[in-house]
Symmetry: C2
Subunit: 435 residues, 2 copies
């Protein structure tokens, strides 16, 4: 009966059986120290009887089963080690791995391509895989939180007849002789689903044919898509987005402190109610503080995003902040124009540690208004890409709003990674389609 | 402060505010009965004062907010109804909906295309949406169960450089001037991830360019992909697949009995340990019972799948059954040949209520053997589609196995729907790319 590294210390004084990968081998005089890796951690095995001769010529990665006695030892990787081992080689590895998984992996920008090229093996590094334990935890936290707020999970199709939001950034494919596109967002579907379940979400892949070589862009990523009906205003949507960020950070540190510390992560400081600053006020504060005039910018500039997060951390004790009140002239056709100030759209960005992690907006829910706004940007209400969408409004949709949040970007920022690709198991960009 | 239909009966004697869609309107002499629909159910509103004159000319789907007094009434939809209503029209619906959502929706095969064409509105039907409440519940049950078994969730890319399993059933797309394909399965990635987390799963979309017009095939569906390392044999994989089916059925009935009954579903009878029958034995039993000789078939025939499920229900008190021991000559290159009987592959199908809902197998984990089996089917180990996959084996993968299970097919069979498309929000097939 196999036991895991995490259970080892509870078996002190007993004989146990463990299985895993040979992680490291070290000779100290007549004693051989083996480190075995399993899904929970590392186990040190002390061999004083030449049992590890069985491993001669074999390399790290070799799969072993070891039987031996557990000796408690606080400084050992799992709080105990195994003595008097009897070793069985389950799978022999006869070649040296192209990447060392028993050391910290080089995450400098220059090394990223090597990192991804060797991803299949590099992920076995216990620090590296910590990134994806945290990510799995984030997904689970988001779902649990949304369920607690009475949201229903749904799946929208990613194969579409037309592109929903247009633009060049859409992948096209041959669909039995017709053209199909890959969904750039679940935007229209989540709004349609408000008519069914009022509060909905999905976490599913999203595709953008981004011809970008930045640390922020990928062609495929996991999008947390949230939409809620019967809202009083944008503030209801902000509350849910803030709630997600809170639980994601809190649970990641509660459940994976060890992995986060090994990754060099720092616990985020977040106000219970995240601060909100209007875009105008941001421009004013930034211009005043730096002397660089941004008051004519229609969006927060990347420099402003970084600056306001630092400012907010210092002044408002929150590393996350909402920027709100974007100019109405730049809004999308489905955005909602503020009722008190028609120059402003009910839209906000959630910034966290220097980048935007979510874009939020209230949507125009009145059929006639929506058709009018669509036509104003040159859209054709009869076009297949809009026809079914508009049906939902024609037959009654309540006031609603929502947001999209990138899972990888959220993970990246919780951990403090340089590029969003480092928070992706097998990243996809202009140049990379494998592994 | 809005309250929901499910909370209504706890507010008997009080004044409340509810919001939702006008579901039905009925005149009985001087009294108007309104039914309001919200995300949890229906609320009956009794108007004796002509307040509903405000709804003159408006149709079902109109979004309303109603304030009134709660009167307990057991036979009312939510165990109470609202009297003395004051109505506010939030969103007017001025057209009659193309599909009636206040009645049972026609699910006969002839009506399916109409059903899907009007899906955006049809899903608002409380019986219809029950299908997707059950489906959300199934997803959650599967995840909770797998987490309880120490599986880690991951996401594999769906944009690939080459097709993993070949065949004509692959969608191709233009990827910045190169060719990319859409993943037909997470097969290779989940095996790679065994090297990282030992036990992994994902529930993500999968794409098959199936030129099929059946009730079983779609071009996009949600696949529950599971893989586990350090197994003793295929029986470990069977146990997890059986576990999933058990929790999915149990929780669906625990949490959504009302929806299931409205859908005409029948609680499944499942043995704690699902019965296992070898393919040979199935052929023998079927041939003996029906007089039709299937002993030369390499797979269970559709007729056999139905027959054995009925047989199992009657003889073994289980509506689900495993068929195992498939002929080795038909196995895929990554399947594992049985150690005691080399004519047999360690492979099984999980059948439930007449169809296969999962295919399971132990995988060949020995590098040399795998390369040999790949070459034997004409595969090139240096090909991009195999190169990274084989890396995982070269540097050590333990004995492992797994399965794929279709979320929609599982939902379909739990509910007892005719076609898998009925268990899909927005189905995709050869002819259907919208809504």
């Amino acid at each position: 009966m196999r036991i895991l590294s995490s259970e080892l210390k509870y078996h002190t004084g007993k004989q146990v059986q463990v299985s895993g990968w040979l992680h490291k081998k070290r000779q100290l005089g007549k004693i051989t120290f083996l480190i075995l890796r399993d899904r929970h951690g590392l186990i040190q095995i002390v061999d004083e009887t030449n049992e590890s001769e069985k491993l001669r010529g074999l390399h790290n990665g070799t799969v072993l089963t070891v039987t031996g006695n557990v000796i408690g030892l606080e400084k050992a990787p799992s709080g105990a080690e195994i003595h008097h081992p009897v070793i069985t080689v389950d799978v022999s590895v006869e070649h040296v791995s192209p990447i060392e998984v028993d050391k910290a992996i080089d995450h400098t920008p220059e090394n990223l391509e090597t990192l991804f090229e060797n991803r299949v093996i590099g992920l076995r590094n216990v620090i590296e895989r910590g990134i994806f334990k945290v990510q799995a935890n984030v997904k689970q936290s988001v779902r649990d939180y949304l369920r607690s707020q009475d949201f229903t999970e749904f799946n929208s199709p990613k194969l579409l007849a037309g592109s929903t939001e247009g633009g060049a950034e859409v992948f096209k494919l041959d669909y039995f002789g017709k053209e199909a596109t890959l969904a750039q967002s679940a935007q229209f579907y989540k709004q349609i689903m408000v008519g069914v379940f009022e509060r909905v979400y999905e976490i599913n892949p999203t595709y953008r044919a981004e011809l970008s070589y930045t640390t922020r862009h990928m062609t495929e990523f996991m999008h947390i898509d949230v939409e809620m009906g019967f809202i009083e205003g944008l503030q209801d949507v902000l509350a849910i987005a803030g709630g997600i960020l809170h639980v994601a950070c809190t649970n990641a540190w509660k459940d994976h402190e060890e992995e986060l510390l090994a990754l060099g992560a720092v616990k985020p400081v977040l106000k219970q109610q995240l601060p909100i600053v209007s875009l105008k006020e941001l421009h004013r504060l930034y211009t005043e503080s730096t002397g660089q005039d941004t008051t004519k910018e229609k969006d927060p500039t990347p420099a402003e995003e970084r600056w306001i997060c630092e400012y907010s951390a210092k002044e408002w004790k929150s590393e996350a902040v909402f920027v709100s009140e974007f100019p109405a002239k730049d809004m999308k056709f489905y955005h909602y124009r503020n009722e008190l100030n028609p120059d402003v759209a009910d839209r906000a960005d959630l910034l966290f540690r220097g980048v935007e992690i979510a874009t939020l907006s209230r949507r125009e829910h009145r059929y006639d208004k929506l058709v009018e706004q669509l036509k104003a940007v040159g859209g054709d209400p009869e076009h297949l890409g809009f026809k079914y969408y508009l049906m939902a409004f024609k037959y009654g949709l309540p006031a609603h709003g929502g947001f999209g949040m990138g899972l990888e970007r959220l993970t990246q920022k919780i951990i403090g990674l340089h590029s969003v690709k480092e928070a992706t198991l097998f990243p996809r960009d202009v140049n990379r389609l494998q592994p």
